[in-house]
Assembly symmetry: C2
Homo-oligomer: 228 residues x 2
């Protein structure tokens, strides 16, 4: 469902190019639960952003759900993200002037759902991540781990085909992280959602059946439980 | 070196008070390496912010390095923070328009050091956290874990008596986190720095000799390696 071929991306620091991804090749299959691992700075966020049609790339091909991402126009990318992807950002990227519930409902509204239905869906997902009582708080009235969970709820609220999660348990204690992983596994089992999760959390790794490890922008290791 | 007596703090959500800390009592001794644990939302950041003179409290007493924090004026708190505390924020709080090196040098400048010396000190600490090459990058040109390490370098650059670190390894892979913990332990051993670190990272917990656990704003558990 995600096919990455020979993907390369440089960031420009003034006139100097910095290769963040260097000829990355990987395949994610429908209903995978794959962890993307690697050192800080190895390229995980960059890879997720490109697969999620949030950033451009220099060379290579990325096909997600049969759509050629790198060839899309800005409008096509927006539509694609709305219909297919749920994204959990490493820095959450919540809207500060909206409440937690409004932040989650917002993506449902973008999908064309009514205000009432969106708020109900949002309440359901906030409850699922353990924030049932806190929907009327704004992000700056929440702890770090609570903000992180609002970001997760927002990614799940649109019932996406593919969830791209960038370190979704980084600011959570072990118990809260394990509950979140259980929630993700349940979605994986019940709705056949595909997960690609950047994480260094052992609980997330233990829940996954495949692992892809990056180093300095290229793939150095692949592990698949299904293979002998 | 840190004495917290009967500390309580409510946040106000409109007219409704929410008790974030509820009669917290704890002692941190000179040259401790103490971890502050607890579930997401249990009050760790709030406690660190109050001890670091960044937030006010409602009732109780907080004495840090023989100074009564809750009675201080705004100016006194600013002086106290500059001279005594190195703070690693959970959300890093880097200045976006300054480079990594300038972010770290800034706190040295505030202490009255020359521009040249501040930049040299900053380069040293960025190197110590593994970011030696990246000093001229701005925060939005760095990965999440790289930004986190700039925040740590900035907290250490003033050679503070007490380091208050709010989840300083949350966005780091295991290897990078372990190197950071080694650095903190080295400072602890060589300079007698006192550490109070909010973390759920096992590597941080393993390095500590004391643990204080919060739940719903109060202390539920204390563990001390030194005690039988
Ligand atoms: N500005 C605020 N206004 C209202 N409530 C707040 C505010 N900041 C924090 N809270 C609440 O106070 C409680 C403690 O928050 P705190 O940030 O100290 O938790 P924490 O232990 O650091 O959590 P985490 O591990 O998720 O970072 C939480 O329930 C949070 O929702
Ligand atoms: N906007 C940018 N401009 C320049 N360089 C960048 C930019 N964003 C990221 N980089 C660099 O690209 C490399 C990969 O960054 P990326 O954010 O993908 O790493 P990561 O694996 O997600 O790291 P972390 O685990 O710390 O979040 C890093 O060396 C980083 O410094
Ligand atoms: Mg990242
Ligand atoms: Mg916190």
């Amino acid at each position: 469902i995600i096919s990455v071929r020979d993907l390369s991306k440089c960031y420009w620091i003034g006139k100097v190019p910095f290769p963040a991804l260097n000829r990355v090749n990987l395949e994610i299959y429908d209903n995978d639960f794959t962890v993307l691992a690697g050192r800080s700075g190895s390229g995980k966020s960059t890879l997720l952003n490109i697969v999620g049609a949030l950033e451009s790339a220099d060379t290579g091909e990325v096909v997600v759900d049969n759509q050629n991402i790198l060839q899309m126009s800005a409008d096509q990318r927006t539509q694609f993200r709305l219909q297919t992807i749920g994204f959990v950002f490493q820095a959450y990227n919540l809207i500060q002037v909206l409440t937690a519930q409004e932040n989650v409902a917002y993506v449902c509204r973008l999908q064309g759902k009514s205000k009432l239905e969106s708020l109900e869906i949002a309440a359901h997902w906030l409850d699922a991540v353990g924030l049932g009582e806190l929907g009327s708080r704004r992000p700056n009235q929440l702890s770090g781990g609570q903000q992180q969970r609002v970001a997760v709820a927002r990614a799940l609220a649109t019932n996406p085909k593919i969830v791209l999660a960038d370190e979704p348990t980084a600011n959570l204690d072990t118990v809260t992280a394990q509950k979140l992983v259980c929630l993700l596994q349940k979605l994986h089992d019940d709705f056949n959602t595909t997960f690609l999760i950047s994480s260094h959390d052992p609980d997330v790794k233990n829940a996954s059946s495949r692992l892809i490890k990056l180093s300095d922008g290229h793939v150095i290791k692949r592990w698949d439980e299904a293979l002998p």
